[in-house]
Symmetry: C2
Subunit: 342 residues, 2 copies
């Protein structure tokens, strides 16, 4: 297997300390490769980067007609949220709408991603619950799918439960590739995650952004989800997160979502292009530098948007005393590496 190119590097002083390889693809809804670097046919686990794709099942199962989730709740279904009050309260309302509660969530509990919320919980002597899990909105959406399908919600995270079967078929339809038990793992929140070629996830986001190749109902559902996510960037991520910063700056033009282990997926909506990025070694900061390079080159940023992206493309590394001793940066040749003409 050939090595992917070095797309980001950590510099300390005047010498490169770490190298981060990866691949990315920018694809249109007809499947044309706008740009690519590295092995874009290698199957990768998309993890949380495709929550908006998985949330399409809410519509295909007609849970939207039954429960009428708000735009905020749809944004939370696409979210890796930070467990801030606005997130946990929102998810709680979503569950109440379904006649369910926190005990129906099977994602497990973890400390909220947001540091201030974590400190406040700790100061109050309280343990986090499943609402604080960054995936609790997605899980609420999946519970709505179970109810709309008329199946037992219990075990909805399991690979062979009707909910996960439906989610799998939904993702397969959008990315245009079969998923396989031979390339399957369990995600942090206990649902299955299936590996598929990096290119296919970029393609899927191009189709979600344009509706091309989808049924009218699927296209409408995709539009509602991307609208919900891009109108509520704070609900999809949290205070200070790059996804919030990017989606806020691009004001609806860019859908952007991180996935665990350094996956970045989304769409440049006005161009009808989807993109997918994976850093081979799972370093999230490196993948942010890669993402910034892709959006700087392909998303036609204005000055304010460029500022947000440049800050991700060059991220300072500090030492214990707070001195800046280096930076994580996208490698300079990235833009020229194996790119197809746009």
């Amino acid at each position: 297997m050939d090595a992917n190119p070095v797309l980001a590097e950590a510099v300390r002083g005047n010498w490169v300390e770490n190298r981060h390889r990866g691949a990315f693809a920018v694809v249109d809804a007809g499947g044309r490769i706008i740009a690519a670097s590295g092995d874009i046919e290698r199957p990768i686990f998309p993890r949380s980067a495709i929550k908006s794709m998985q949330a399409l099942a809410i519509f295909s199962a007609h849970a939207d007609e039954k429960f009428h989730p708000s735009e905020e709740e749809l944004a939370l279904a696409c979210a890796s949220h930070h467990g801030e009050e606005i997130h946990t309260q929102g998810v709680n309302r979503f569950l109440e709408r379904l006649g369910l509660g926190v005990d129906d969530l099977e994602c497990g509990a973890h400390q909220p991603t947001n540091a201030a919320t974590r400190e406040a919980l700790r100061a109050a002597g309280r343990a986090p619950n499943a609402l604080h899990n960054n995936c609790s909105g997605k899980h609420s959406g999946m519970l709505s799918v179970a109810l709309a399908m008329g199946v037992d919600t219990h075990g909805y995270v399991e690979r062979h439960h009707p909910v996960q079967q439906r989610v799998r078929r939904t993702v397969e339809a959008v990315i245009g590739e079969p998923l396989s038990e031979d390339r399957c793992g369990t995600d942090g929140c206990s649902i299955p995650t299936f590996a598929a070629p990096l290119r296919a996830f970029a393609f899927g986001f191009a189709r979600m952004a344009t509706g091309e190749g989808l049924s009218p109902d699927e296209a409408a559902a995709a539009r509602r989800l991307l609208d919900a996510a891009t109108r509520h960037p704070h609900l999809v991520s949290g205070t200070g997160h790059p996804d919030e910063a990017i989606m806020t700056a691009f004001n609806g033009r860019v859908m952007q979502k991180v996935g665990a282990e350094a996956v970045q997926c989304g769409a440049i909506r006005d161009k009808g292009w989807g993109y997918a990025i994976k850093c081979d070694d799972g370093n999230v900061i490196a993948s942010q530098a890669m993402l910034a390079t892709v959006l700087l080159k392909f998303a036609d940023p204005d000055a304010d948007q460029r500022k947000v992206l440049e800050a991700l493309k060059h991220q300072p590394i500090k030492n214990v005393r707070g001195m800046i001793v280096g930076e994580m940066r996208a490698t300079e040749p990235i833009a020229g590496l194996g790119l197809t003409a746009g």
Copy 2:
């Protein structure tokens, strides 16, 4: 630049999620390469993996004759300790021996590495101080060098301070390579770190283990430091750390020290071999799997030692609910990759 081989990988379910490249060298005191994989001439920052080498300056400056540091204090000078009470008290005694105190340390403060100590500090409403810094023992050793040299201790962390000049010359002499301002950065604890070929650090540890190529005084100093570190593995690291587990299991036969950003250095003392390992992307767990492979193959482990190493070679990955969903593991071909006959 050719890519280093994949030496470790993270598997989720039945599919590889992340790949970790790296290089390693096992070298004898004559400079013969016993085994190697990847580009061992590429300069890497050794970071904290060479604290025992830096501590040789205590002897070359005759600070040992002036202050008579205990074996425990010498172990702490080689340590990335976890800030447990035994560590902070030990460093405090070392500083008292010098007539100095915590305010003379220029390493900065960070939360102790040990979780229980961190929780106890937090519960007591106390902030960590410089004693908790994992490098505070090394810094105490450097302060002893300043006093023995009769120079101002203030600014002893700076690149051009006589202490750092002496440490630099000491390391150059042991590894047999010049260090350069052109390959220099600032470490987490504010002292300079110089990049040099991976092979040279392995060579340096072989010379420290055997005394070959060193003056009688240097050889005696190296022996005292490696004896101190291997007799007090808990002082060199902390509760539950792989370095403690390995050095305890090998009972003096193996000196092992981690450095930040996934460096592993040490010596198989009875064979007279030094080794150095760097994971290209800075992933510490991956570098532990690489280390385990090297020691399994070259350190002739008995059953108990093998058990410690196997646990590092295959480390479970758990999800939020505590389910084992994958593992970080050394890649199987590692033992055959580019090895010179031993």
